[in-house]
């Protein structure tokens, strides 16, 4: 494969002034307490194809931030850098600065396993494991820690309560997760992410494979979870973004066009492209 010539240096080479290997405790006390995730000049490539162009964005803690924009605008790519899922894609690279509470997320020596414990993810299509409901929720916790059986049961119960699924499944925790409906499966996937004890939840179009009723229940859940987690949600659905999010970022062709409080961005966009998109004139 030929190395493309890029203006920025590849992953891990360019750094903002941040002491390497800064400990978590220091990182948890950021200078601006509101900001959870911040990026400066973040660019990304798949092979020689640049998909993100020098993004600057701050995502506030314990709020819901929606990424909107037409297909292929790079919003999912950006999401997948926050938990480094892009590591699994051959040829994916990033440059610039991306940090979570001061933790450098583009550091090539970063322990991605530990990062993904702190940053949960929910996918477009529900992807429960072909295991029991209990084992699905307990999957993540068992990866990272050793729990007493009672702690594990309590953790599974609280996670299922948090994703508003407990009432529907409490009598059949041992039955297969594949027997659940699509909406239930997606809430199970949220419970599964919550059980690990993350700070951030990434949601990649979590309702696009669901019917309207399931979508409504997931949206309500997102609004409730906002009190505990920083949530970043990618969505195609403008109404959804306006219903669930506090802040919205609009992307187009890999560039961040406009960002701001959701009600402001939807009612009074400053950019012409944003206005065309949110009013449905293209996209």
């Amino acid at each position: 494969m030929t190395q493309p010539t890029t203006p920025e240096q590849p992953l891990g080479a360019s750094r903002v002034e941040l002491p390497r290997g800064e400990s978590e405790t220091a990182a948890r006390a950021p200078s601006s307490p509101q900001t959870a995730i911040s990026m400066r000049g973040l660019s990304s490539w798949y092979g020689s194809n640049q998909v993100l162009h020098a993004l600057d964005l701050e995502i506030a803690a314990k709020q819901v931030c929606a990424f909107i924009g037409p297909s292929g605008c790079g919003k999912s790519t950006l999401l997948r850098w926050i938990n480094r899922m892009n590591d699994t894609i051959p040829g994916a690279r990033a440059a610039g600065m991306l940090s979570l509470h001061g933790l450098d997320l583009l550091d090539p020596t970063l322990d991605v396993v530990d990062l993904r414990r702190r940053v949960g993810m929910v996918f477009q299509k529900p992807n429960p494991f072909p295991k029991s409901i209990f084992d699905n929720v307990a999957f993540g916790p068992r990866l990272h820690r050793i729990y007493s059986p009672t702690d594990l049961e309590e953790l599974v119960e609280q996670s299922l309560r948090a994703s508003a699924l407990w009432g529907e499944v409490k009598d059949r925790l041992d039955s297969s997760a594949l027997g659940l409906s699509g909406g239930q499966q997606q809430r199970l996937c949220i419970a599964r992410a919550i059980a690990v004890g993350p700070e951030v939840l990434l949601m990649d179009e979590p309702c696009s494979a669901l019917d309207p009723r399931s979508t409504a229940s997931i949206e309500e859940l997102i609004r409730e979870l906002r009190a505990t987690y920083t949530i970043v949600i990618v969505t195609h659905n403008m109404q959804q973004a306006s219903r669930v999010s506090d802040a919205t970022a609009f992307f187009y062709e890999g560039k961040l066009i406009e960002t701001g409080a959701t009600d402001l961005l939807f009612t009074n966009p400053t950019n012409r492209q944003t206005e065309d998109y949110v009013t449905g004139r293209f996209g």
């Binding site: 916790p141 990272h144 820690r145 050793i146 309590e154 996670s159 979870l225 987690y229």
Partner: protein, 321 residues
């Protein structure tokens, strides 16, 4: 209530004793290394096969006291008689010819029948019929080749061939060829069927919408679209036919001769190797060593065929979707 549950889930999640990240990283590395070494073994196997065959073959060509053996003579000689007569002759062509004759008969028999059966299974058969026929094919595929050899010897020759013509002896290329054909039939059939079924339904629908009959669709759309897979199936089946040993050792006979007569007995490369390894040829002797040269020739032929198959599949594969 939900957010409270979420908060408490987060708190409970901290209760457990964390696994050591150092140990996790080390076990990950160890397992990766072990799996990589396992994978490397496949390469080692290939290297070992080539090394063993090459050194022993070199030993054959440079054996002291046998000036009559030469590389040129080996590959162009038309007489193979290592065990008979005062002056052994080592020209591999009769063995190659025997192998090709048996393989050709097997191919003429199995390739059309296999492809037509595949078309039937993929385009015509009802699901139930298909399941039953596939199961029958799977049994056929699992039958040990020595069984087909026995079948050739005790059924095909006496009950199918000898009633047709008195020219067929107890051992002949025809019955071995048919038996090898039966052996490769399931390979041709199931791999071709896979290739045909991989052709997207939209192509068939498109052809029907233009007013095609089922025959038009099968023969002019589906088979051409799946052709690369079908050819790869043919090549794989022929590779198996060339390397087949027990059938020819039982049914083809033991006389190495250059002939295209299917009623004649022939010796194939594999059958010669069986004769040597079964017999009491001394391990240092010229006959014994010659079997390695034959094995190397066989290896090179099958190697070339497998490569061709891989290239056909790669280069001519139609990508749908």
């Amino acid at each position: 209530m939900t957010s409270f549950a979420a908060r408490s889930a987060g708190e409970i999640a901290q209760r457990g004793r964390p696994h050591s990240p150092l140990r996790r990283r080390w076990s990950e590395k160890t397992i990766r290394a072990i799996l990589f070494l396992l994978t490397l073994l496949t390469v080692v196997t290939t290297v070992a096969i080539i090394t063993v065959l090459a050194t022993e073959t070199y030993g054959f060509f440079t054996l002291a006291g046998h000036p009559e053996i030469s590389l040129w003579g080996f590959f162009t000689g038309e007489e193979w008689s290592p065990l008979l007569g005062a002056e052994p002759m080592f020209g591999v062509l009769p063995l190659v010819c025997g192998t090709l004759l048996v393989t050709a008969i097997a191919g003429v028999f199995a390739l059309p029948i296999g492809l037509l059966t595949a078309v039937y299974l993929s385009e015509y058969a009802a699901p139930r019929t298909r399941t039953i026929l596939k199961a029958a094919l799977e049994i056929l595929a699992g039958v040990p080749t020595v069984v087909y050899g026995f079948f050739a010897l005790t059924f095909i020759t006496p009950y199918l061939l000898q009633p047709l013509s008195s020219g067929f002896g107890a051992y002949n290329a025809m019955s071995a060829g048919i038996a090898v054909g039966i052996m490769i039939l399931p390979i041709v059939c199931s791999l071709s069927e896979d290739a045909l079924r991989a052709v997207p339904q939209s192509l068939r629908d498109g052809a029907y919408a233009l007013g095609s009959t089922k025959f038009d669709v099968s023969a002019k759309v589906v088979v051409p679209a799946g052709l690369s897979g079908v050819i790869a199936a043919f090549l794989l089946a022929l590779t198996r036919a060339i390397g087949e040993t027990m059938i020819v050792a039982l049914a083809a006979g033991g006389l190495a001769q250059m002939t295209a007569n299917p009623a004649a007995q022939v010796q194939t490369m594999t059958a010669y190797m069986v004769q040597i390894f079964l017999g009491d040829a001394p391990a240092a002797g010229i006959e014994y060593k010659s079997s390695y040269a034959v094995a190397f020739t066989l290896f090179l032929i099958t190697f070339a065929l497998t490569w061709t198959g891989a290239i056909v599949l790669k280069r001519y594969r139609e990508e749908y979707e």
